[in-house]
């Protein structure tokens, strides 16, 4: 079954605006990761946040994790047209299957 669900499914914003994407998951996790996929390409790792962390930053990216609500958010500040892509959250469970489980992604369109 699907572990992660991203929200919204699609998001369209203007350059310079902030983009926020949310992810909810079902089981307890070891870590949660965000990936980016440009059209026609493979997924590229953006950031990892461990279950004992609440917030993490990387450049224009800010990720939060709320394990009590089983949710995470990815904020991209001052978006650029080049940020146009699909963004996926992926969870690694703290027990059981040794693999990342991905959600269905948020398709972000940044208008120049």
């Amino acid at each position: 079954s699907q572990q992660g669900e991203e929200d919204p499914q699609a998001l369209s914003i203007q350059e310079g605006e902030n983009a926020t994407m949310n992810c909810s998951y079902k089981t307890s996790i070891n870590n949660l990761q965000w990936y980016r996929q440009n059209s026609g390409r493979g997924l590229v790792h953006l950031i990892l946040i461990r279950s004992n962390e609440r917030e993490k930053h990387s450049g224009r990216l800010r990720v939060t994790l709320d394990t009590s609500k089983k949710s995470s958010s990815l904020l991209i500040t001052a978006s650029r047209a080049a940020d146009t892509a699909s963004y996926f959250c992926a969870t690694y469970r703290d027990t059981g299957r040794r693999a990342l489980t991905f959600g269905s992604g948020t398709r972000l369109q940044v208008q120049p």
């Binding site: 997924l43 040794r98 991905f102 269905s104 992604g105």
Partner: protein
Amino acid sequence: DTAVSQTPKYLVTQMGNDKSIKCEQNLGHDTMYWYKQDSKKFLKIMFSYNNKELIINETVPNRFSPKSPDKAHLNLHINSLELGDSAVYFCASSQEGGPGTGINTIYFGEGSWLTVV
């Protein structure tokens, strides 16, 4: 150098044929995966190998058979292709951080676009 490379990138074939997708990683990782991405972009794991040993085998038809000759290679062979097999297949690799630390990062190949007609 490409970290995870898979071939072919595009594959168009007729129903009933058998085809293979090859994957190689030069990162020295001990775990490799095959993921399938459907037309709605949903990415689902199919198989996982750790040091040539099958770790994960999701509910995939047995027409799909992975082969890992060594830890740097994980090939995917598909028998009797069906229309529903049309998808993008991604090979990936990772290095676990040690017991209890979980997977750090997965590195993906560029995908193999399979179209069954």
